[in-house]
Symmetry: C2
Subunit: 312 residues, 2 copies
Amino acid sequence: MEDFKQGLLEGKKRAAARLISMGENGQQEALDVIKELYHKTGNAYVIGVTGPPGAGKSTLTDKLVKVCRAAGHKVGVIAVDPTSPFTGGAILGDRIRMSDLNTDPGVFIRSMGARGNLGGISEATGVAVDVLDIYGCEYIFVETVGVGQSEVDIVKSCDTTLMVMVPGLGDDIQAIKAGVMEIGDVFVINKADRDGAEKTAREIRMMLEFNKNEWNPPVNMAIAVENQGIKELLDSIFEHREYMTGSGKGHVRRVENRKSELLTIVKERMTRKLFEKTYNGEVIDDLSQKVAKKETDPYSAAEMILEKINMN
Amino acid sequence: MEDFKQGLLEGKKRAAARLISMGENGQQEALDVIKELYHKTGNAYVIGVTGPPGAGKSTLTDKLVKVCRAAGHKVGVIAVDPTSPFTGGAILGDRIRMSDLNTDPGVFIRSMGARGNLGGISEATGVAVDVLDIYGCEYIFVETVGVGQSEVDIVKSCDTTLMVMVPGLGDDIQAIKAGVMEIGDVFVINKADRDGAEKTAREIRMMLEFNKNEWNPPVNMAIAVENQGIKELLDSIFEHREYMTGSGKGHVRRVENRKSELLTIVKERMTRKLFEKTYNGEVIDDLSQKVAKKETDPYSAAEMILEKINMN
């Protein structure tokens, strides 16, 4: 454990990588290292990047990272796919596009997938953010694949959330869950050379009107593949950062973020315990069969399960 | 308790209404009644109605109910709004539109809202479905307001799920979460007289192509306010029912539904316990503050909470 601690403090990539993997596998040792070094976190600025599949989040992140690198900053990228057991690595292509950053010693790239349905992805992502923060990254981009609840939970612990959209395409249905919009601090219409970009921007501005707040999220335009609008987008992100710091809202947000993070960790662990204590869900399967046969009812079955896990 | 049991078995509306309210308030007595009568469930056919806000789900449900009524069936309607603490009753208008059914003794209408963030809405909905099933409803429509995770959990316990869509409107962004599409057994484009109805139908068919299955969800057209396409839609629902029964998949689905229902109840109760055992979340608030001040770290804080609720 001392080795990892030392390695991380000295900014050794290998130590960071190993700790993140250990966190993913739920190894207590990784958590012990972070616990001891937690007071060293808080220097990284964490930017969440989310939006519907196909919006070009990876390319956009890639370009944003390059601007940060040009300014000499140490950067971390965490790409999270909570749905990976289902998509079966279909998003791997997205990751590869970032590969020319892979050889840059000032960039740490990591992708995280869900390992089954026991939860834990949010906690593992939190561990990775903390590790990269201590490791010395000044900016950490947390990119998610979709816009579901897990993604919302994940970006909820970021300092600024960037919502990436695309102009409405013929065959593409905008995959935006009502309510997800509210988590965007900064919006960008990527692929802005496509038809309908202005219309999409107008629609988003209109939706934001309903949610009026002191901070009015800017709606940027970008063409990531052509490196257009990237610096302006980063400026928007920095404006949000300044607003949050200047207004004192940054502190309030950080407390809220920590609470959301904490609740997510607790719920994930509760779900894991639920499966462990029911023989990997076997008890739940058996009881479902019994309910279906009406040998018992769902409420008695739930009580039995809760009793088994001492939550009654 | 005997009174309620008796009343429900005799098909007394008041008994059903009271039991549903008691279930909403988490009163054990309601669950005790259902437990005793659970063997009498399974006669109702449960149809989930979901889709983005503004798709006209309530009007469509209203018309479908009227067709069922014309055939002499006893019908239940449960309108669920998991987000009601936030929308503040904005959907009440939807409910009122169904009011001319309210005077029909053969229809039982009930709306359910979330009572805070402690969860429990899925369980309360399950209770309502069971009560109306025992009460003698042959068809139960479970209508949800949005298309979020809670809605998915709710319609997951239905026999047939109807997904209501609308043609793409200028200012309207289709609020469909990627992944939500899969839960639709039957699709309908409502307000089909609007521009782009055929285009929307094509888009949906294309999305369904990716998810090919033995059952190919039909995509219907309807104009609910003009009562157009309603009988055909109900026929599609019945076709799905026949397919499920004929192929034996109905049984498999029911077991899966019961499992999903059971897991949801267990998780909702775990979350409730979590809040109860942490003094309504006070412990969590305090610990979040401490983490933000770095007096502790999220992992130690999570462990403290889990220890407090005996889930460590």
